[in-house]
């Protein structure tokens, strides 16, 4: 297949989205894009195993899958640089919001884990999510909150670890949660928008808005580090006050008045 070099696929993110949706719905196989680092030739002659000097036997990869790599070091990639231009398009934002929604019951819920986990080894989460990593075609976002010791306390893997058996009670749930905080408000055109969501558990803005964030949510100025200098959080969302502090009508004689 001849692929013109001009062809660029914005929708690479679509591929990733599909891959992740695949994981979300429980496909276990690797995402598209996971291939041997150098394709083995179909040429019979070159496919023959080259002789290996006994001196190199120990360290040399051999066998039919010698070119396959799955070590983290070789899979780790790079995100955009700090100063790269950031595309912005309402379509991209909508897509990013939809992707976020696929991972959480409502905006603010801890996202599910879209990949299988070794349930008992919690510290390994930080290997990728500690600082955030690009791994093959996937992004492991940096944790958005302070470090805790028990990740699975809040984040449930969507790919169940339990072997065998059926898939549980098939009862639908009709809960419809808030999908996003919407957009922040601006005092005037060009003013920095307010933060439209709670910052609790999202103290680290770069997790979503930094260079490894979803395109559409990324900040146009990721090099600025003091976000709340310009973007104001909401007193209501920060639990500093309730919007409507008055008790409901059925509160009773002493509390209702």
């Amino acid at each position: 297949m001849v692929v013109p070099s001009k062809i660029l696929v914005i929708g690479a993110l679509g591929v990733v989205a599909v891959a992740l949706v695949g994981m979300v719905v429980g496909f276990g196989h690797p995402a598209p894009g996971w291939q041997p680092a150098t394709g083995a030739s179909s040429d019979r002659l070159s496919a023959a195993l080259p002789a290996v000097h006994y001196r190199d036997m120990d360290g040399k990869a051999r066998g039919p899958n010698r070119a396959y790599t799955s070590t983290l070091a070789t899979l780790v990639g790079h995100g955009p640089a700090l100063m790269d231009a950031v595309p912005f398009d309402p379509k991209l934002r909508a897509e990013a919001v939809a992707r976020r929604a696929a991972r959480r019951a409502y905006n603010g819920a801890p996202p599910i884990i879209p990949h299988p986990v070794d349930a008992n080894d919690v510290t390994s989460c930080y290997q990728c999510h500690g600082e955030g990593k690009v791994i093959g075609p996937l992004i492991a976002p940096k944790i958005s909150h302070q470090r805790y010791t028990n990740c699975t306390q809040c984040h449930a893997p969507v790919v169940t670890e339990t072997p065998g058996g059926s898939q549980g009670l098939e009862v639908k749930n009709e809960f419809v949660g808030v999908v996003s905080g919407g957009r922040g408000s601006r005092a005037y055109i060009g003013a920095p928008p307010t933060i439209p969501h709670a910052t609790s558990m999202r103290e680290n803005c770069t997790s979503c808005h930094g260079t490894l964030g979803l395109t559409g949510l990324r900040s146009s100025h990721p090099w600025r580090v003091n976000c709340t200098q310009c973007h104001a959080p909401s007193a209501v969302l920060e639990q500093a006050r309730f919007d409507d502090p008055s008790p409901p009508p059925w509160a009773g004689e002493t509390t209702g008045k």
Partner: protein
């Protein structure tokens, strides 16, 4: 590939990409489907699930819960929840909510009106009130439990009401009563912020109390040193973070505690000044089970409730009894290395350490549960690891109001409100006075405890013919299901009434099903494991005709009163709830009519009537209005200056507890021996009544998992939780599995003398039992392990032992 082919290929893959995105997702995939984030009304509530009592904020919009947050102002969780708590609002929206009352006709449930349902219950109870029992819950709100308790004990004049908390923390309550003369922990969760050594006693807090677990584990990230010792019967997620993990043989926790006591005594701790000043040495009155071959057949006199507080034991005898429990001997009995017994004793003996023991169902679901709870308090008393922040013995609970409703409101068959024993004539009189009942209305006989109640119900001609179940699922959670629940199927004379929110294993056998309002569909109040009461207001309407449990009981009580049932009259001939529900002008608020239920805050009325009871045992609660504003308060809550209500963090400690006299240091003012002293107990290690043998060679342990709460009625309807943990399984040691040629995912039959169940095996899974034992969680209603468990129970608490019985395994 030519351009046309390529185009077709691209289009096909493009369509696949789009199609993949329309699959049903966790949330609403697109913003357009979902409510916008503005205009949400946020209000506080405790989490609906476990006894931790985390504060959550629920956001309601257009009559629906649309978002949740952890409450930053809640002292329990400080802005962090667990995966269940973050999804707590979803439990309201399972598609199969019960929305109309239903009656079983020819084996099928058919919808009926509320009027008809209330009339059926009225007639059924009135026909034979003595054969009616109520089976409630540690998930009843405080006012709900209070209404039900008054209905049965004040209205029907007997004490056949018991909560599912009997299955959960009855042994903890009995242990506190046996040791301090009064129930509930002296310490609180703040101990987690101060301890330097933490010991699990058969407990897996990383999954069952994750918020409390990370509250202490996260301290290590900040540089605090906390030595964490995990005494367990299987390797769990908690074990992963422990410094020392030791597997003990089931039931041998008694020996471990005695091993620590042995070393403390050897180190001269009986001569420490606090031992004589604050404590008495104590032992059981007589052997519980005189026949060593029948360890679950108890001597009636030895286990009489009056003997819960035992008798004195001399110092010489105490020392002599402990002589046997050398670290090496304990290692032999329990499997815990002698070096670890020594280490624990050393840590407890070190005045610079703050040792915290915590436990939950391990020592509670135990045929010597009361004894084991007492021993845990005792080793902390003896070592002096008590009464200082971080040095404590803390009993965790499993249900959100096991303390608040089951224990404090006294919905147990042996209690009256305020945790007052029914056997005490003075407390019966006090209750009759507070309820305006004629003298002698309250029965002096302890009612049936849970196991007995269901045994009578399932027996042809048994003493109970009607049970009304509220907020619990005995069809899944009672032990020995064939005997205690499923036997009902063949009993035509029995009638089962169930108030619930979803179809369950219990509604499957119910003759009458009532749809209940749940959680924030009604006002409520819960009391958590650290003596903290938390209040919430109704935030959304219940679906269909679902109504609060308290209303259901009030409606039946009123219908019985109207029909002339004498018990529903107080001593002035008025309805027993009339004085609770009067306006200031003397007219009665018709709260039994649902249209008028919210004319008044019934919760507040009931709570204010209940409050005087709480003062009797110094568990003082503040006025309702104070809880409406506060994010929870720990009792005793006393009014220090007018309008200024203060909670109590540590009981019995001078300067912390307002009821301790200055100059005493520690004062156990409810002492069983009336001398302000608590007890240091002696109890021997005894083997479990059923242990593995040649025929049934494996230990079976049952329990919970992080994602699901108890019988899973709510959490199995929450997609993120259900997907993560869709079904039950059996954990087996790899060697045992290999011997059966079983691999992960293979079906295994687990069989006891009582029943059998087929489950997929999970080897080297989340929990790893040692060789010769297996573990099955009980959340899955299609894979009910309680078909297999045994109904033997503790002599005092009557709490069954779900943690151990003998089974055999084979590949299916």
């Amino acid at each position: 590939m030519n351009d046309l082919d390529r185009r077709a290929f691209l289009k096909t893959s493009a369509m696949a990409a789009a199609a993949a995105m329309i699959l049903p997702q966790l949330g609403s995939a697109v913003e357009g489907d979902a409510p916008a984030a503005d205009g949400i009304r946020w209000d506080k509530a405790p989490c609906r699930f476990c006894g931790t009592g985390c504060g959550v904020l629920l956001g309601a919009k257009d009559g629906k819960i649309v978002a949740m947050q952890a409450d930053k102002e809640a002292s329990v969780n400080k802005g962090l929840c667990c995966v269940k708590g973050y999804h707590v609002g979803l439990i309201l929206y399972g598609q199969d909510r019960l929305t109309v009352p239903q009656k079983r006709v020819d084996g099928k449930l058919v919808p009926i009106s509320w009027e008809e349902a209330i009339a059926i219950i009225r007639d059924r109870i009135s026909a034979s009130p003595a054969k009616f029992a109520m089976y409630g819950s540690g998930q009843w709100t405080i006012p709900e439990g209070y209404v039900a308790n008054k209905f049965v004990k004040g209205g029907l004049g007997h004490n056949h009401i018991d909560p599912n908390a009997r299955l959960c923390m009855a042994s903890a309550a009995a242990g506190f009563n046996a040791t301090y003369g009064v129930d509930e922990p002296a310490g609180c969760y703040d101990d987690l912020d101060h301890c330097t050594v933490l010991i699990d006693w058969g407990n897996n807090p990383a999954e069952m109390h994750p918020v409390l677990f990370s509250r202490v584990m996260d301290r290590r990230l900040k540089g605090d040193k906390v030595l964490y010792i995990d005494l367990t019967t299987r390797r769990t997620r908690s074990s992963e973070q422990a410094d020392h993990v030791a597997f003990f043989k089931p039931n041998s926790d008694l020996a471990i505690a005695n091993g620590i006591a042995h070393l403390l005594v050897k180190a001269g701790f009986l001569d420490k000044p606090w031992v004589d000043k604050f404590f008495r040495l104590r032992q059981r009155v007589a052997e519980y089970a005189p026949d060593p071959t029948k360890r679950d057949v108890y001597d009636a006199e030895a286990i009489h409730p009056k003997n819960l507080n035992g008798k004195d034991i001399t110092r010489e005898e105490y020392v002599k009894n402990l002589e046997f429990y050398t670290p090496e001997k304990v290692e032999e009995i329990s499997g815990v290395p002698a070096s670890l017994i020594r280490l624990m004793a050393e840590k407890m003996a070190d005045p610079n350490e703050r040792v915290l023991s915590w436990w939950c169902m391990g020592p509670n679901q135990h045929t010597r549960g009361t004894a084991m709870n007492s021993l845990l308090h005792s080793i902390h008393h003896l070592s002096g690891q008590w009464g200082k922040p971080g040095a404590s013995a803390f009993s965790l609970t499993g249900q959100p109001s096991a303390c608040g409703t089951a224990r404090e409101v006294g919905t147990f068959s042996h209690l009256l409100p305020g945790h007052l024993p029914v056997l005490n004539p003075h407390y019966r009189e006090v209750t009759e006075d507070l309820w305006h009942l004629p003298k002698g209305r309250i029965s002096d006989k302890i009612g049936f405890h849970t196991v007995k109640m269901w045994e009578e119900f399932c027996t042809e001609g048994g003493a109970i013919d009607t049970i009304w179940v509220q907020v619990t699922n005995p069809g899944q959670t009672l032990p020995h299901q064939n005997k205690l629940f499923l036997a009902k199927k063949d009993r035509k004379d029995k009638f089962l009434i169930v108030s619930d929110v979803y179809p369950t294993a219990t509604t499957a056998l119910a003759d009458l099903v009532l749809p209940s309002a749940m959680y924030v569909e009604k006002n409520g109040m819960y009391g958590n494991a650290e003596r903290k009461q938390q209040q919430w207001f109704k935030m959304v309407e219940p679906p269909g005709q679902a109504r609060p449990d308290a209303w259901q009981v009030l409606a039946v009580a009123k219908a019985m009163f109207d029909a002339g049932f004498p018990g529903m009259k107080d001593k002035d001939g008025e309805w027993i709830f009339a004085k609770t529900l009067k306006k200031s002008d003397g007219s009665l608020i018709p709260a039994w009519d649902f249209a008028h239920y919210y004319d008044v805050n019934v919760d507040e009325r009931m709570f204010e009537e209940y409050r005087p009871f709480t003062k009797i045992k110094h568990k003082d609660l503040a006025p309702y209005a104070v809880y409406a504003k506060a994010h929870g308060l720990r009792w005793p809550v006393v009014e220090k200056t007018p309008g200024n209500w203060e909670e109590t963090l540590w009981r019995f400690v001078e300067g912390k507890d307002p009821y301790v006299k200055p100059g005493t240091g520690l004062q156990f003012y409810h002492s069983n021996t009336k001398d302000d002293k608590a007890f240091i107990w002696w109890h021997p290690y005894e083997a479990a009544p059923e242990e593995p043998d040649a025929e049934y060679p494996f230990w079976l342990c049952t329990g919970r998992v992080l994602e699901h709460w108890h019988s899973g009625t709510m959490t199995m309807r929450v997609p993120p939780l259900q997907r993560s943990m869709p079904h039950a399984y059996i954990e087996i040691h790899p060697d045992d599995a290999a011997a059966m040629n079983v691999r992960s995912g293979d079906k295994v039959i687990v069989e006891s003398r009582r029943g059998a169940l087929t489950l997929p095996a999970w080897i080297k899974g989340r929990g790893q039992p040692p060789k010769g034992s297996c573990f099955v969680p009980f959340f899955d209603e299609r894979l009910q392990i309680n078909l297999v468990t045994k109904d033997y129970h503790d002599p005092f608490s009557k709490q069954p032992d779900f943690k151990k019985c003998a089974v055999r395994l084979r590949k299916a």
